[in-house]
C-alpha cells in the first residue's frame, strides 16, 4: 500500500475521456453534476456525445434506456443517493428488466461525502441495486481500479451500477491493473480470518491486517469489487482456509456486501461472521475521517471485528 491518495471519480473521468477516443458507441449523461462526477472530462473530449439532462434523474434514466435501445452504450452519472434512489423504479423497468446497456455510475457514495450530511450520504445504494434482477453491482477499491472497472463496463453488455466515493483516499492497487467483472482479488494471504472488503474499506482492511499481524494474527484480505454477481468461489476458498469472516463496507450492513456474503455462507458453508458497516442509521455532517471514526469504519474497528470473529470459531 502506498501513501498516494487519489479520488476515484477523477479516474472515472479519465477513463471516459479515453473511451471518447476509442469507442464511438459510448454516450454519457449527467444531471447537472458533471464537474463533480467528472463526466465533464468526456464532455470536453466528445461534446456531441455528452448529454446534459438538467436536474432530472428520472428522465436521465429513460433517455439512457432509449439511447441503449438504439445501440449506444450509455453511462449515466450523478450522486449515489439520486442515482440509486430517486430513479430506482425507472432503473427497474426501463433498464434492468429489458437488460439494456446502461451503466449507472454513482459518485459521492458513503459517509465520506462528509459535510453535506445524511441527505447526500448514500448508505443503501448497494442494497437497492443488488436486489434488481439482471443488475451487475461494482464497487472499486481505489482510483486505479475505478479506471479499470470503467473500461470493463464499456466492454460488458447489459445493465450495471458502479459505486464510487467523493474523497481522495489511498490507492491499494497497482496503476494499470486489470478488472475482471465478478472476480475478487486476494490482496493479502492469511490463515486465521478472512476480511472481505469493498471500496475504500479495502485500504482499512489492509491496515487492520498489518496491525493484527503484530499480534500474531494472520488475516487474509479479499477485495470483493464486484458485489453482484458475488465471487462465491473466492468466498469459499478464503473461508475454507480461515474459518472466520469479517465483511467491511462503507454502507449499511443491511443489504450490501455483508448481506451478500452472509446469504452465501449461511446457505452453503456456515462460518462465524462479523459485519462492519453502518448499523441501520443515517449519517450526519462532519469531515470524512471524523465520520469514519464515529460510525466505526476505521482500521482499528476492522481489527476488533477480526478478533471477535476468531473468538467465535469453535
Amino acid at each position: 500500500m502506498t501513501s498516494k491518495r487519489l479520488a476515484q471519480r477523477s479516474y472515472y473521468g479519465k477513463a471516459l475521456a479515453d473511451l471518447a477516443k476509442t469507442d464511438d458507441r459510448v454516450v454519457v449523461l449527467d444531471a447537472d453534476l458533471a464537474g463533480s462526477t467528472k463526466t465533464g472530462n468526456f464532455a470536453s473530449a466528445a461534446p456531441e456525445r455528452f448529454i446534459e439532462v438538467g436536474i432530472a434523474e428520472a428522465n436521465m434514466i429513460g433517455v439512457a434506456a432509449g439511447l441503449a435501445a438504439s445501440g449506444k452504450t450509455a453511462f449515466a452519472s450523478t450522486f449515489g443517493v439520486f442515482a440509486s434512489g430517486r430513479c430506482w423504479e425507472q432503473i427497474r423497468m426501463a433498464v434492468a428488466y429489458p437488460k439494456l446497456n446502461v451503466k449507472i455510475v454513482a459518485t459521492h457514495c458513503g459517509l465520506s461525502v462528509g459535510p453535506d450530511g445524511a441527505t447526500h450520504q448514500a448508505l443503501e445504494d448497494i442494497s437497492l441495486m443488488r436486489s434488481l434482477p439482471n443488475m451487475t453491482v461494482i464497487v472499486p477499491c481505489d482510483a486505479y481500479e475505478a479506471y479499470a472497472a470503467t473500461m470493463a463496463l464499456a466492454q460488458m453488455e447489459g445493465p450495471a451500477y458502479m459505486r464510487m466515493g467523493r474523497s481522495e483516499f489511498p490507492v491499494v492497487m497497482p496503476e494499470g491493473c486489470e478488472f475482471r467483472i465478478g472476480k475478487a482479488t486476494v490482496m493479502r494471504e492469511g490463515s486465521d480470518v478472512s476480511i472481505i472488503a469493498c471500496g475504500q474499506m479495502v485500504g482499512a482492511a489492509l491496515e487492520a491486517a498489518e496491525a493484527l499481524s503484530a499480534e500474531g494474527i494472520n488475516a487474509e484480505v479479499v477485495n470483493m469489487s464486484t458485489i453482484k454477481p458475488l465471487d462465491s468461489e473466492a468466498v469459499e476458498a478464503t473461508v475454507a482456509k480461515t474459518g472466520a469472516v469479517v465483511t467491511v463496507e462503507e454502507h449499511s450492513i443491511i443489504g450490501g456486501l455483508g448481506s451478500a456474503v452472509a446469504e452465501y455462507l449461511s446457505e452453503n458453508m456456515p462460518a462465524p461472521l462479523v459485519r462492519v458497516g453502518t448499523r441501520d442509521t443515517f449519517g450526519e455532517s462532519g469531515e470524512a475521517d471524523e465520520l469514519l471514526v464515529k460510525y466505526g469504519l476505521t482500521a482499528s474497528d476492522v481489527a476488533a471485528a477480526a478478533r471477535n470473529a476468531i473468538k467465535k470459531k469453535r
Binding site: A58, V63, L67, S70
Partner: protein
C-alpha cells in the same frame, strides 16, 4: 409498403384491431380494453399508413419507432403488430397467460416490434427522447412516435422529458396524447386537472396540434404536418372516447381495466362485426 391504403380501409382495420382487443382481453379474463379502444384509430393509421416499417425485418436500422408509453394499452399494440404481420394473429389469445410473449404490459423485444418496456406510467416519453436523440446523433431519418395517456401526464417525468425534447430540438419526435379524459378514479379534471393541455405543451416549446383522435383524415394530416417540423418536437392531442366502438364501454371508466363477461363479449363482438367489412 402499405402507404396507399385509403381512409375507409384504415378505418376498417381500426375496427378489426378493436375486435382483436375484445377477443384477447376476454380470453385473458383481464386487461385494459377502454384505453386500447380509444387508441385504435391512431395505431391503425401509424402501422398501416404512416410508419416506415417492415414486419419481416422488425429491427431494420432506419425503421420508424413506436413507443407505447401508456403500456397498459398493450392489447392495441399487440393487435396492430399481429395484424401487420409481426407475429401470428392466433397468438393474441395467449395474452397474459403463463409462458406467453404477450406480457400484460409490453416487454422490450419479447414480441418483434416492441421497442421498449413500458407499463409503469410516465416513462415512455423519456425513452422516446433517447431513441430520437440517437437518430439525430447518427444522422438517421427515422421518426419516433410516442403515445401517452392523458392521465399519465400527471407524472412529473413527462415534463422533464418535454423540456429535454425541446432543448435537444427533437423535431423527429412526435407525441400523441390519448385525451379520453378518464382515469381509474374518474375524470382527469377531477382527479388532477390537466387543462389547459395545449398551452402546457406550447409553454414547453412544442408544436401542438389538436384533433379528433377518431378521425383518420385528421390523424394523417397531423402526422404529415408534424414531420415537416425542422426544429421542435410536436405533440398531437387527440380528443378521444375511452372504449370507442363498443357502446357500453364508451366513456365508461369501469372498462379501464376489466374484461368482458360472456354476455358483454357477445354484444361487443356483434357491434364490431357489424361495422367491419
Amino acid at each position: 409498403m402499405m402507404n396507399d391504403l385509403g381512409i375507409g380501409e384504415i378505418q376498417n382495420i381500426a375496427n378489426k384491431l378493436r375486435l382483436d382487443v375484445i377477443e384477447m382481453t376476454t380470453a385473458a379474463g383481464s386487461g385494459h380494453p377502454g384505453g386500447s379502444l380509444s387508441a385504435a384509430d391512431l395505431l391503425a393509421t401509424l402501422y398501416f399508413r404512416i410508419m416506415n416499417i417492415d414486419p419481416q425485418n422488425p429491427y431494420m436500422e432506419d425503421r420508424d419507432r413506436f413507443v407505447l408509453s401508456k403500456g397498459h394499452a398493450a392489447p392495441i399494440l399487440y393487435a396492430a403488430l399481429a395484424e401487420r404481420g409481426y407475429f401470428p394473429l392466433e397468438e393474441i389469445k395467449t395474452l397474459r397467460k403463463i409462458g406467453t410473449r404477450l406480457q400484460g404490459h409490453p416487454a422490450y423485444r419479447e414480441v418483434p416490434g416492441v421497442e421498449v418496456t413500458t407499463g409503469s406510467l410516465g416513462q415512455g416519453l423519456s425513452m422516446a427522447c433517447g431513441i430520437a436523440l440517437a437518430g439525430k446523433m447518427d444522422g438517421k431519418d427515422y421518426r419516433t412516435y410516442c403515445l401517452m395517456g392523458d392521465g399519465e401526464l400527471q407524472e412529473g417525468q413527462n415534463w422533464e422529458a418535454a423540456m429535454f425534447a425541446h432543448k435537444y430540438g427533437l423535431s423527429n419526435l412526435i407525441g400523441f396524447v390519448d385525451r379520453n379524459r378518464l382515469q381509474i378514479c374518474g375524470n382527469t379534471e377531477d382527479v388532477m386537472c390537466l387543462d389547459p393541455l395545449p398551452e402546457k405543451f406550447r409553454a414547453f416549446g412544442w408544436n401542438v396540434i389538436v384533433i379528433d383522435g377518431h378521425n383518420i383524415r385528421q390523424i394523417i394530416d397531423a402526422c404529415e404536418k408534424a414531420v415537416r417540423s425542422r426544429k421542435n418536437p410536436t405533440v398531437v392531442i387527440m380528443n378521444t372516447v375511452k372504449g370507442k366502438g363498443v357502446s357500453f364501454m364508451e366513456n365508461n371508466v369501469e372498462f379501464h381495466g376489466k374484461a368482458c363477461n360472456p354476455e358483454e363479449y357477445a354484444k361487443a363482438v356483434a357491434e364490431l362485426k357489424a361495422v367491419i367489412q
